[in-house]
């Protein structure tokens, strides 16, 4: 019974003669020839790493396909099998989407990069050099310098430009409240990463003070960016977890995610993928090839692969 049902479905698909789904051959112990789908987001290191991993898979004899995707929405696609992997899952920015998709089933955790990440409020280094807020990066300095960070719509308070509210909810307003800074500082949610970078660029041109949400590794590292040092993070310190909400961000992880079928369909590729691990410095290198050396993403990936064979070759074994 099950068989015959299955047959009709297959017949329907074949009759469509278009479904790539049906175009599969007999299963082998080796990796399937159907392509591994890698998502392309909109920041340099992610794109270069996509081509780096893609190049690695191709070296192993796999077919690879790249697909542009929104960095938040991609986890739903991995879950559905439309995308195979995601290789830069940032803890505080994408952690929520990642775990949501995992809870629904269909996404697996494919290990963690050696790079540690930090996602935190901070200032461009020249703000410190100009001494716009004496005492930074210690957070206590914020108590006295808010006047240098006002904007027309901030009602006389200093402004923190936080990422979109969907990234961390009300974490930052709660922190300001908890630290007793709420009457001196206010939080503005930017619409996206573009807005953050634009703010950095225009503040620099104007020589004005700005406090911006940022992360590392990132291309802004090259220009110099200092993260504010808040009281250290510990388990349960956040308001939403029942804590007092004063703590800063933890050193975060950078994970890899995959569709649950990936280990079964492409066992060799999956093993390599789960072994793959990049350090902060290596990720910075990838980004710099594009951002600083103005290389094309694909060229950058090719160069990186050529330069770092002894790093990634062992993963493929």
């Amino acid at each position: 019974m099950k068989r015959s049902k299955n047959k009709t479905v297959r017949a329907m698909m074949v009759a469509g003669c278009v479904s790539l789904l049906s175009a599969t051959g007999v299963a082998k112990a080796a990796d399937s020839t159907s392509p591994i789908v890698i998502p392309i987001h909109n920041w340099s290191s992610q794109i270069v790493m996509a081509y780096v991993l893609g190049g690695m898979f191709e070296k192993m004899g796999n077919n690879v396909e790249y697909v542009p995707a929104d960095s938040q929405a991609v986890y739903e696609s991995i879950r559905n099998g439309d995308v195979t992997i995601s290789h830069e899952v940032w803890q505080s920015t994408f952690g929520k989407s990642f775990y949501n998709a995992m809870a629904k089933g269909g996404v697996i955790d494919a290990g963690t990069h050696s790079a540690t990440t930090l996602e935190e409020m901070g200032v461009p280094t020249w703000v410190i050099e100009k001494d716009l807020c004496p005492g930074l990066p210690n957070w206590e300095a914020l108590k006295d310098c808010h006047a240098n960070f006002t904007t027309p719509d901030s009602d006389g308070k200093g402004r923190w430009l936080e990422g979109p509210q969907s990234w961390h909810g009300d974490l930052m307003p709660e922190r300001l409240e908890a630290l007793g800074l709420a009457d001196k500082w206010t939080v503005k949610f930017a619409g996206g990463a573009d807005a953050l970078w634009t703010e950095l660029a225009s503040a620099k041109k104007e020589g004005r003070g700005t406090v911006v949400f940022n992360w590392t590794p990132n291309f802004t590292d090259a220009d110099g960016f200092t993260f504010i040092e808040f009281p250290p993070y510990y388990e349960g310190c956040r308001k939403s977890d029942g804590g007092d909400g004063k703590c800063g961000s933890p050193k975060g992880w950078l994970k890899k995610a995959a569709n649950y079928k990936f280990p079964k369909t492409h066992p060799a590729a999956y093993t390599a993928f789960s072994k793959a691990s990049f350090s902060t410095q290596q990720i910075g290198q990838m980004a710099a090839l594009v951002d600083t050396d103005k290389m094309d993403h694909k060229d950058a990936a090719a160069k990186w692969l050529a330069d770092n064979e002894d790093l990634w070759m062992p993963w493929t074994k």
């Binding site: 278009v18 790539l20 599969t24 909109n42 542009p68 995707a69 929520k96 930017a190 996206g192 703010e199």
Partner: protein, 686 residues
């Protein structure tokens, strides 16, 4: 007194305002006061939608499918299989065209499977040299409309190639070449159906309104859930966005066909099909072609957003460029998008206007002129590419394919331009910006937020009642009630504030500039071309310079909205003024009015109903930009829609938020449309 009130609309408005102000002062702002804010009774609606979509998509009617890759039977829900297979067809078509242009393996895989393609590495479709594609397109232009079009098309393609945007442009082109015809076809079918059946028309009408106003982000998530991610998903989202104007214009055109023409067709012995295809549709051609133009514009306007759910090509590159603040590069990409739009528009127009010559007794050479020309171009292109491979021994063969971002670039020039603008204007703009925010925007925003919900209802429904009677009042009330019962009323107020301010600015700009331009046919044509261009030019590009100048503030959001929303204001003003009958001009001149008087007392009142529809479109455009404004940073509905992309119940949230935005638009639409129709009737313009 009561009699006077019945007669004089302005008295009614004054009374309404008084009641409104009194209500605002009397009602205390408190969460437990239902006159201040309604309880969020339908807070759980998004979740319910979400659950039902999940159920339909992932649980309903599971079928057993054997997955040979993991050698297991899997439960696959029926709906998902159906949507995936059907969207697979669209994907196949896109890939087919793409691989004709750029080469690849997908088409071969579709027939032979990945195993075969992997074992036979030679089986790769080669890309066409760009010279052949550009030449072929130019020949097409020549065949359709002569030398000038050929030159334009050829140059446009050459620009794209030379500036190193060939590959993404062809990816985008292949995607549009599927999405646009499908939209046109769907639009025609639905339009004809609505023309045939009143029932269908009355069902379709509100749906079309909604599809136009609901921000495209709202249906990105459902599309992604139903159809997955990739070019096909992008194409489907684009089709949803581009079809409504086609339906509308088809219906409009068909309705305008004089009944006698239809009867002439019948008497000529047409059956239903012939009547439709040979008489009605061709006669309605003017409007239908405007529909095609709109489809093409909408398709390219969606290129960037479609890339968020997997459409390859220029849109994705643009987002990447912007993320690095490379405005010059983004601008070059934007120009490519606009060029593709114009090329497609001109070619389709020329094709529709093509005439057959029955008398020419053609020789073989003449009859196959274009095929022969293409043959020559093909051979020439191959030879050139061959020569190229000899010249450019190392690196890239520029006569075959100019690789991505390896062409010439004017990026530095534009970057310098942006810097120049910054250096020149920043400080003067800064004080203006501060003044605007402190003196205008913040007070208006606060005023909106301090309206009790009861007062808002009285005001809006009252306006509806005065303008359109009890029906309008109830419609508006119903639409707003939906919003008031969600938990997003305050955010909707902020959206309304942004829309109100930007629509006012856009309308002022549009009417003033439009009137000036309408005085002269040349300037009219110029401004209409400008409208077309800016409608397709990705708004994302100017977000960054605007943010540079005005910061992450509401001013930037407003400017982004205004740039886009002024387009319909301009267009409808120019068109409205042109529609003023010549006899009225003459009558005016005879009674000795001067230019300004003529404008104020004749042209403006007569064209006002048409302009009012412009207000309508301006509102629609402004609402659809709310989401783009959210990319700068707002605390309105738009930001939540953006956020919905990453949420667990994103589908439901996105849809309900989208509905909220749409309902604001529909409420305004209700008032303006009713009023405009009344005016039109009064002026005898219908």
């Amino acid at each position: 007194m009561i009699e006077a009130l019945k007669q004089k609309k302005y008295l009614q408005f004054i009374l309404l305002l008084i009641i409104f102000v009194v209500l605002c002062m009397v009602i205390a702002p408190s969460d437990s006061n239902y006159l201040w804010r309604l309880p969020p009774l339908i807070k759980d609606l998004p979740l319910a939608i979400n659950d039902s979509v999940d159920f339909a998509m992932f649980e309903w009617m599971p079928i057993e499918v054997y997955d040979p890759e993991i050698e297991e039977f899997e439960q696959k829900p029926l709906l998902k299989e159906v949507t995936r297979v059907s969207s697979g067809f669209i994907l196949f078509m896109i890939e087919l065209i793409r691989e004709i242009l750029l080469g690849g393996v997908k088409t071969i895989v579709a027939f032979m499977g990945w195993d075969w393609a992997t074992d036979n590495q030679w089986a790769r479709w080669p890309a066409l040299p760009w010279t052949i594609v550009a030449g072929g397109a130019a020949i097409l232009g020549y065949a359709l409309n002569g030398f000038r079009l050929a030159l334009f098309v050829g140059l446009a393609f050459t620009y794209i190639a030379v500036f190193g945007q060939w590959e993404p442009s062809m990816q985008t082109l292949s995607f549009v070449l599927i999405a646009a015809p499908v939209s046109v076809f769907l639009g025609l079918v639905l339009g004809v159906w609505a023309f045939r059946s009143r029932l269908v028309e009355s069902i379709l009408n509100p749906l079309l309104n909604m599809a136009q106003i609901v921000p495209h982000f709202s249906y990105l998530i459902p599309v992604m859930v139903f159809f997955g991610i990739g070019d096909h998903a992008g194409a489907i989202a684009t089709i949803i966005f581009a079809t409504p104007p086609m339906v509308r214009l088809t219906l409009l055109g068909l309705k305008k066909v004089p009944p006698e023409v239809g009867e002439a067709g019948l008497m000529g012995g047409c059956n239903n099909w012939q009547l439709l295809t040979k008489v009605l549709i061709p006669t309605a051609r003017r409007d239908i072609l405007i529909g095609v133009n709109q489809v093409i514009m909408q398709c390219l306007a969606m290129v960037v957003i479609a890339s968020l759910i997997g459409a390859k090509g220029l849109g994705n590159d643009l987002l990447i460029a912007l993320n690095r603040l490379r405005i010059g590069l983004a601008l070059e990409i934007g120009v490519c998008i606009v060029l593709i739009a114009i090329v497609l528009d001109r070619l389709s127009l020329a094709w529709a206007n093509k005439q057959t010559d029955y008398f020419a007794d053609l020789s073989f050479k003449q009859r196959h002129k274009y095929s022969l020309m293409f043959g020559a171009v093909f051979v020439g292109g191959v030879i050139l590419a061959g020569i190229g491979s000899l010249i450019f021994k190392e690196g890239f063969n520029y006569l075959y394919l100019i690789p991505h971002n390896k062409g010439i670039t004017t990026e530095n020039f534009w970057q310098a331009g942006v810097d120049w603008i910054w250096d020149t204007f920043f400080y003067s703009l800064k004080s203006f910006n501060e003044w605007l925010i402190v003196e205008v925007l913040l007070p208006v925003k606060n005023a909106y937020l301090s309206m009790p919900v009861a007062a808002t209802f009285v005001l809006t429904m009252g306006i509806g009642y005065i303008v359109g009677g009890i029906r309008s009042a109830l419609i508006i009330g119903g639409l707003l009630l939906f919003i008031a019962l969600t938990e997003w009323w305050d955010r909707a107020l902020i959206t309304s504030y942004l829309v109100t301010v930007s629509v006012m600015i856009s309308m002022t700009l549009g009417i003033v500039v439009g009137t000036l331009c309408a005085q002269h046919p040349k300037s009219s044509r110029f401004i209409l071309t400008y409208c077309d261009t800016f409608q397709t030019f990705p708004s994302f590009i100017y977000l960054i310079p605007v943010m540079m100048l005005f910061g992450v503030t509401d001013t930037s959001v407003l400017i982004a909205i205004v740039v886009y929303a002024t387009i319909p204001a301009l267009r409808y003003t120019v068109e409205g003024l042109h529609a003023v009958p010549e006899s009225l001009h003459e009558a005016g001149s005879m009674s000795g009015v001067n230019r300004l008087q003529r404008w104020l007392s004749i042209e403006l009142p007569v064209s006002f109903p048409h302009m009012a529809l412009g207000v309508n479109q301006t509102v629609v455009f402004a609402l659809s930009m709310v989401i783009i404004g959210a990319m700068i940073g707002t605390d309105d509905l738009g930001q939540l829609i953006l956020g919905a992309l990453s949420e667990k119940n994103g589908v439901g949230n996105g849809l309900v938020l989208g509905l909220c935005v749409a309902f604001i638009g529909l409420a305004i639409d209700q008032v303006i449309r009713t009023w405009a129709n009344q005016r039109k009737e009064a002026l005898g313009l219908e």
